[in-house]
């Protein structure tokens, strides 16, 4: 038996494979394909105070080894979540994390307070990195003062585990990691999507209604890995690696570079069983390499180079 567990403070995860917000719905959409309770955790769809319709169609474009999305946080709002979705998903035997979003700091604070009361939600992921909304979102995650302020405000009202999700659309991601750690974040997840665009040459216009969108998928993996490595070397809190993880080997790269856990995103669109396949693959790798605990490989490359 290998130990795959990891912890954020006193919150235990049975394994380090989670699913990324906006790519796994509320979990139940995947019931036909896998046992959601096998996963270390699921991060549910980006949630806001009020219901949102998101951006206009077209909001998606395929790119080489990836995709652009400009969904813009379409969701039914926290009331609907609490009443209709929470009861349905709180039966999963895994850590359910809500990804929270807002236009103003007050929105984040109000959401954190609401979710603090939900017994079966042990953590929130503070999304200060959505590139697809006009107000808030990435604006918080690309300005050090705003990142500090929103993290501090949410920390003040939220007693459970606070994960802050960082944007890659900055010059030095490490500065942001330090700031949110200083303000009391319990963990950092990165990366959110990279701002990108695509032009339809036939139609001679941008492929997305919003012109720009967020790039995800294998195309962003080298950048994500570099950023995770930089951040993990710097902070003491656990780092969750996200970005273009399609295979076991991709996930292992993140662990070796210093991530304590990973989130699987776009891969679930191509193979809805990817999260469990990757989980099984990690276990097999550890057995093959003769490790008894995943902790032995976290940040391994930093020890040898």
């Amino acid at each position: 038996m290998v130990n795959l567990g990891f912890s954020i403070g006193d919150l235990h995860f049975k394994n380090p494979v989670l699913t990324a917000s906006g790519t796994f719905g509320y979990g139940s959409e995947f019931d036909d394909f896998l046992d959601v309770s096998r996963l270390g955790g699921i991060v549910v769809k980006g949630t806001t105070i009020e219901p949102r319709e998101g951006n206009l169609y077209p909001r998606m474009a395929e790119t080489a080894s990836g995709m652009l999305n400009a969904v813009g946080l379409q969701n039914k709002g926290i009331d609907y979540f609490e009443k209709n979705i929470y009861p349905r998903i709180s039966g999963y035997n895994t850590n359910i994390i809500v990804n929270i979003n807002g236009s103003y700091i007050d929105d984040y604070v109000a959401l954190a307070e609401r979710i603090n009361r939900l017994e079966k939600i042990p953590a929130i992921e503070l999304n200060i990195s959505c590139p697809n909304v006009k107000m808030g979102g990435m604006a918080f995650g690309t300005n050090l003062d705003s990142a500090r302020e929103v993290t501090r405000a949410v920390r003040a009202v939220y007693a459970k585990k606070l994960i802050v999700k960082l944007s890659p659309n900055v010059t030095n991601v490490v500065d942001f990691a330090k700031v949110v750690e200083e303000e009391g974040a319990d963990s950092i997840s990165l990366i959110n999507t990279l701002l990108g665009m695509l032009v339809d040459v036939e139609k001679m216009r941008p492929a997305l209604s919003t012109i720009t969108g967020g790039l995800s998928g294998p195309a962003i993996k080298p950048i994500a890995l570099r950023m995770v490595w930089q951040v993990a070397k710097t902070v003491r809190i656990p780092v969750i690696g996200i970005g273009g993880i399609m295979t076991t080997s991709d996930a292992l790269e993140f662990f070796l570079a210093g991530a304590s856990a990973v989130q699987i995103g776009t891969a679930s669109f191509i193979d809805p069983q990817a999260p469990v396949k990757i989980l099984e693959g990690i276990e097999n790798y550890l057995i093959k390499k003769g490790f008894s605990d995943i902790k032995e490989i976290i940040g391994y490359i930093n020890r040898t180079t």
Binding site: G22, E29, D32, E53, G54, Y57, E62, M67, V71
Partner: protein
């Protein structure tokens, strides 16, 4: 109906003309009870440029042989790669996905209208209606006589009417110009085709108080209702084409 992810064996790849081909796939397990209008998310392997799955409708089903067919138009890289599959190759599908066309009300005369790759779900729909006691008429629109595909298949289902844009076969013009629509005999129309065709048919149906369902072909990433990329603006707000559709009653749409 539970969704599955499965490798299916290609047991036929028939080229119909320059643009269209039909793939026949054979299930290892018993194939599911498909409903007309449903689709599959098809994995195209081998290139970074066909990263996402491609949504393709269920075209025809043979429960006895445990096989089903996809009718595919070569539109780009993904469908181009699929056209090169050989017998014995395996194709990975997530299926069956989406809702389905509704059955007509008792004794309603129904018309199926299709054009281009939009004819794909109509064959299965036609057969399904036949097996439920309806004899639909079928109106198909093509650019020219060379583009006409599977005409004989439709003849087995009901009366078939044709339009071609150049008048080389059937009536000249678009489906909405066909004289059959002037008879006023249809109480329900099912339509799948290019956006412009579906909008024109929807307009005709609204004006004449005819029940109408259309099957939309929005861009999709996941196909299972999680990415929210495939939305259509409806009177109920944004709905997902992949799970709330692809079939919509035109009264739901803001067309």
């Amino acid at each position: 109906m539970a969704k599955r992810i499965e490798d299916l064996k290609v047991i036929g790849n028939k080229r119909l003309n320059n643009d269209f081909f039909v793939l026949e796939l054979s299930g290892n397990d018993k194939i599911p009870d498909f409903k007309p209008g449903q689709f599959a998310q098809v994995r195209v392997d081998g290139s970074p440029e066909t990263f996402l799955r491609r949504p393709i409708s269920i075209h025809d089903v043979d429960y006895e042989r445990n096989t089903f067919k996809l009718l595919i138009q070569i539109a780009g890289k993904g469908t181009g790669a699929l056209s090169k599959l050989r017998n014995g190759d395996f194709l990975n599908l997530i299926y069956p996905l989406g809702n389905s066309f509704g059955l007509p009300v008792e004794n309603e005369r129904v018309l199926l209208v299709g054009g281009g790759c939009g004819v794909a779900p109509l064959l299965f729909l036609g057969k399904y209606l036949r097996s439920n006691g309806y004899i639909p008429d079928i109106l198909l629109g093509f650019r020219n006589s060379e583009q006409i595909i599977e005409f004989e298949e439709y003849l087995k289902i009901g009366n078939v009417f044709l339009t071609t844009e150049d008048g080389s076969k059937g009536e000249k013009g678009y489906v909405t110009n066909h004289s059959i629509l002037l008879t006023g005999r249809y109480k329900r129309i099912y339509c799948c085709g290019p956006d412009s065709m579906m909008r024109a048919i929807a307009g005709y149906c609204k004006k004449n108080n005819i029940a109408c369902e259309v099957s939309l072909e929005n861009l999709m990433a996941c196909g299972i209702g999680v990415c929210l990329c495939c939305i259509i603006d409806t009177i109920k707000g944004n709905l997902c084409t992949c799970i709330d559709g692809p079939v919509f009653n035109i009264n739901e749409l803001k067309w």
